[in-house]
Point group: C2
DNA sequence: CGTTGACAGGAAAATGTTTTCCTATATAAT
DNA sequence: ATTATATAGGAAAACATTTTCCTGTCAACG
């Protein structure tokens, strides 16, 4: 691979001139400019981004920390992130942490060594976990899809509580009053969506019953287990809110296996609207999240943050001129009615 | 962030010594070594991998070119790649090309600029397309899961033809003789799996009938369309081989929508064994590929290639000492019988 | 006792850029 | 005509490493 020196020699100019032509960082006479372009084309010169990174202190890389890329939801999010990043000329490096804090720790260090320009987190982290990292790095961080409790760290996603609330209200509107909940254990899938459920019941004067909420990690198989649990009850709920489509699909499977019908015997509503929800039979009624869009917006906001930081670092003379970026982007969710919820018939 | 100079000063040694302690590249007295470790720990020093890359001419990065990360198959492959890469201390940067040759071109250039150490390709490429790239780069390239016709470029995957052959033979063994084919358009999903289909028929004395094979891109919706096509026939086949699970799921949907039963009225067999195939009802009988494993092995082979290259480049004196690496890894596939294939009843 | 060799450790070159600093030339102003 | 100013373009510093080359010390051996 040719380097800038070889181009300079070939074009009969100095290294500085080649650099200036490549970056347009300073005017160069048309004559020399032409010679440089010629040489670049002939030798198929591509500037070495490593050397650039070294001196500019900028890698144009962002790290995405994801619990599991092979999960449909995360893969879609990632795809959205990649889409915007590519447009903005950023590379995306993936860090699959399998929900292991130890692995994430390792990746944080790796990303510091690699000097990524920013990081997107796709899963739960506690503030304490981040504190150590934040102390030493000042690399912008952003949470996508899963919010973090009580912190100003940038976030892109939906209003989790409201979305869960809407889902449950939908069931209530259909006449259901015995509404089960299969909830997760992490912040978004547990606390937040659980909170939406609770509030929906409360606002509609339905008592909260501990015995029809079951806690499980996300995943099809856990949904199945959880539903088994609910069906063991002497009188099972007439509808169940599952905090993720994966859970809902598992639950659906279980109900069907028990010889019951969905939605005639039991209504189900999911959350996320991943691809799965449309291929399963009956098709899943669920809360739609604009997953790809969340990914895109995350990348957009993060890169905004990165480039803003770079600018203000240079001339800190005009602090108030740099208008604040909004660091919490809440996108719209919506309810998509398919085939797993029906009007409660009087029993 | 502290740099090596600061550590050197703090430990009262030279830069070289710090470097040697960090890399163990030359013995250092216990006394100095201890002082260096002390300083490193106190200042939480992490070597700047960019500067390292620059001088070592090695980034410890591999690029993965994937048509679409959000596709379950690719996401799983990616997860396998990432898993091994992480263990080997390589970073993975994703290049989502949406099957656009133009985008891939762009990414190739980007990867050259970024000096990735190797590239894994997860989709069709013609040799001509690669030729230009290979000419200038000498970066190791590997095909994962999709082979390339007539070339020695390293490959990891299954025996596509044999696997398709096995699938169709399974249908034949169940008594089917009118076997439709929904095939793709690219090399693996079209040519190769189509060839397996053809041979299976041939070996069993069943005539190949053009009218019951339909060409479609992969994707659930196309599977649906394709099956519509087949059902339009005055007498539709009693079984259909779909070259991917996505297609099979779409086809299944279509059959069910037409009021027919699977497998009673029509048997279906898919290919890949993605997650989807187990949640759909009835559960899909399909050819299992060890997807994650293919990813892992791809990364393993690529990294082997990379490190081998680095070594032989150094001392080219002993060319025969460096034993050849096998550059074609063919993993086992298997047939997984679930619920979409049944014995043909005499009609 | 003097020479050789081994070896620890430092100075400096090298990696491929960007950018600052400087010089020389041309243009404008007096 | 002379001075001032703008500007094109080159030389060299800077970025954070690794590694080569060199120096000085010490042990071993003649």
């Amino acid at each position: 691979m040719p380097n800038i020196k070889m181009i300079a020699r070939k074009a009969g100019v100095s290294i500085s001139t080649v650099s200036r032509v490549m970056n347009g960082s300073k005017p160069v006479s048309p004559e020399l400019e032409k010679r440089v372009y010629e040489a670049v084309k002939q030798m198929d010169y591509k500037p070495n981004s490593i050397a650039r990174s070294l001196i500019l202190n900028k890698t144009n890389l962002i790290g995405v920390v994801v619990p599991d890329v092979s999960n449909s939801f995360h893969a879609q999010l990632l795809s959205g992130i990649e889409a915007y990043a590519a447009e903005a000329e950023y590379g995306v490096i993936i860090c699959n942490v399998y929900r292991s804090w130890e692995k994430q720790q390792k990746y944080f260090n790796l990303m510091l060594e690699r000097h990524v320009d920013g990081i997107i987190l796709l899963h739960d982290n506690t503030l304490e976990e981040l504190a150590a990292f934040q102390k030493i790095s000042n690399t912008p961080i952003l949470f996508a899809s899963v919010p973090i409790k009580g912190s100003e760290i940038p976030f892109v996603g939906i209003d989790e509580v409201k979305a869960a609330y809407d889902a449950v209200c939908h069931l209530i509107a259909k006449g259901h009053r015995e509404i089960g909940l299969i909830r997760g254990e992490c912040y978004a899938l547990g606390t937040l969506r659980g909170e939406g459920y609770r509030r929906a019941l409360e606002d509609n004067g339905i008592p909260f019953r501990e015995e029809i909420v079951v806690h499980r990690p996300s995943g099809v198989e856990y949904g199945y287990q959880a539903m088994e649990e609910l069906l063991k009850l002497e009188s099972h709920p007439s509808a169940v809110f599952c905090v993720s489509d994966e859970i809902a699909v598992g639950a659906l499977d279980c109900v069907l296996d028990r010889g019951l019908r969905v939605p005639e015997d039991i209504s189900l509503i999911g959350f996320d609207d991943i691809d799965l929800s449309q291929v399963v039979r009956p098709k899943l009624t669920t809360v739609h999240q604009p997953i790809h869009e969340i990914g895109r917006e995350s990348a957009r906001l993060l890169i905004d943050l990165i480039e803003r930081k770079g600018k203000t670092a240079g001339k800190s003379g005009t602090p108030e001129a740099a208008e604040e970026i909004c660091t919490r982007i809440i996108l719209d969710h919506s309810l998509v009615e398919r085939e797993t919820v029906m009007e409660k018939t009087e029993s």
